[in-house]
Assembly symmetry: C2
Homo-oligomer: 325 residues x 2
Amino acid sequence: MSYLITGGAGYIGAHVVRALRRAGETVVVLDDLTSGVAARIPEDVPLVVGSTLDRAVLDGVLAEHGVTDVVHLAAKKQVGESVEMPLLYYRENVHGLQTLLEAMAAGGVGRLVFSSSAAVYGMPDVELVTEETPCTPINPYGETKLVGEWMARAVGRAHGISTACLRYFNVAGTAAPELADTGVFNIVPMVFERLTAGEAPRIFGDDYDTPDGTCIRDYIHVADLADAHVAAARKLAEPGPVRDLTLNIGRGEGVSVREMIDLITEITGHRGVVAEVTPRRAGDPARVVAAADRISTELGWKARHDVRDMITSAWAGWRHHRPQD
Amino acid sequence: MSYLITGGAGYIGAHVVRALRRAGETVVVLDDLTSGVAARIPEDVPLVVGSTLDRAVLDGVLAEHGVTDVVHLAAKKQVGESVEMPLLYYRENVHGLQTLLEAMAAGGVGRLVFSSSAAVYGMPDVELVTEETPCTPINPYGETKLVGEWMARAVGRAHGISTACLRYFNVAGTAAPELADTGVFNIVPMVFERLTAGEAPRIFGDDYDTPDGTCIRDYIHVADLADAHVAAARKLAEPGPVRDLTLNIGRGEGVSVREMIDLITEITGHRGVVAEVTPRRAGDPARVVAAADRISTELGWKARHDVRDMITSAWAGWRHHRPQD
């Protein structure tokens, strides 16, 4: 077996590369390095710099590396940017996957793990989001992920490609400081940035219908997430009929924004800093927590790291990348 | 104002061209003629033979004809084929629209009427389907139509393009024999084909939970449908903010398959022919009938033709195209 990891130089992609290598697999990375970082890839892993929009590059990689399995993570992933630049998101996320699926069908590559998102659910009004909760995305980012699932399933059925669509909840932490998320689009790095600048962390609304009034999310350590990709890929490779898995990847536990900020200030040595409450952001649901039973039943996977692990490792990564802070 | 009609050589497209011309508008057609027929276009209407996947062709048409409004009908539309060939459907229907929207945004074209479908609703379990009924398409054709709506709305919002997504229910009939549907994918021509071959029309299941056990649909005359496009385009052109309309186009009246077959056998002079009942087809909902209030309120449009008009005109079209029958 030989794995192609698209977007393998990204934060999550690099963790998937690492997890597959630890599991003894052969890996090749395709990444256009617009947001990925080549240094995240081990030196003995081939890195092809190119786009999933480029059919010739895809055909070349699949053939030259004898690819049998694809893990497709290459995508744009900023919700706000997707509202401003929907054409970019549809092109990169939808047409990129279309081109990949065309290349896989033509090349006889029979297994695909697809990076989806809890954003497909939109504003779920349930205690726990199951894989059967209706999908009603509310921004182009979430739309492109749901379309990607539809395409993957339909093309899989028509062309005999087994698929696993993994719906990530809120990813945080790092398995190694050098692999840390260097963006500041998620709560953990956003709070790090405020704290190290001497500013109060922000809470976007504390009048939600939740116990402490702040939004509740389900955080998952990126190392656990990466292991789920390995488990999903292994499942698809088992003998049997063409598979079509759709799986939440979360811990099944809700943590509020205020609880996160309290933990982050404690772990980073900023205990006592008081968060500033600002108005709600548009499109933030009060509560998004995964029902995480299906993945456990289907793959035998369970999260091993708690929120404290995520913050502690992310903080080590932050200090690695920004030693001046 | 100058209208580009993509897919204008198709059955519905040619009716839209005709309706816009009768309303005094200037029209240019883009059609790749894979299923469209050039003879359906009036001789004094420019026909550009090309695909909406071809950005250079689009840029040329928009600039040369000073296009201000686009009615986008070019698409693949066979449900069964979409299951067999999802990559074709995603490419033509989704990437075709993506390319068109990119060209419109670049060329500053500010209005789009998009051909959507009741297929976006999937298997609705309601008496009347409103525009707020959840969209859960069950095949790639319906998926590509829902994605098209999402793209059109998101790109419209980001780039100042007013959009009208028209969800067609079951289209039948013709405004002129030479413009008739020449395919046999819908019930009216399917029954014509059986009757003229001396075979019994088929009913796919008579054990549905409906008064006569056969499926109920909402039929709309293609001439009424075409007029709705004119009304939608006119609405988008009114002064005011960027608009974002989503409208069912149906009559709001359910007709069962058995009622349709009875009417068709009567109108075509085959009264007394008994239909043959075969098992259900997968993916056929028992009842799909539009709530048609919104389009009437928003556009002042109302259907003028009943089912008898649809069958009578379609039969004249059938005899025109197959005089040997």
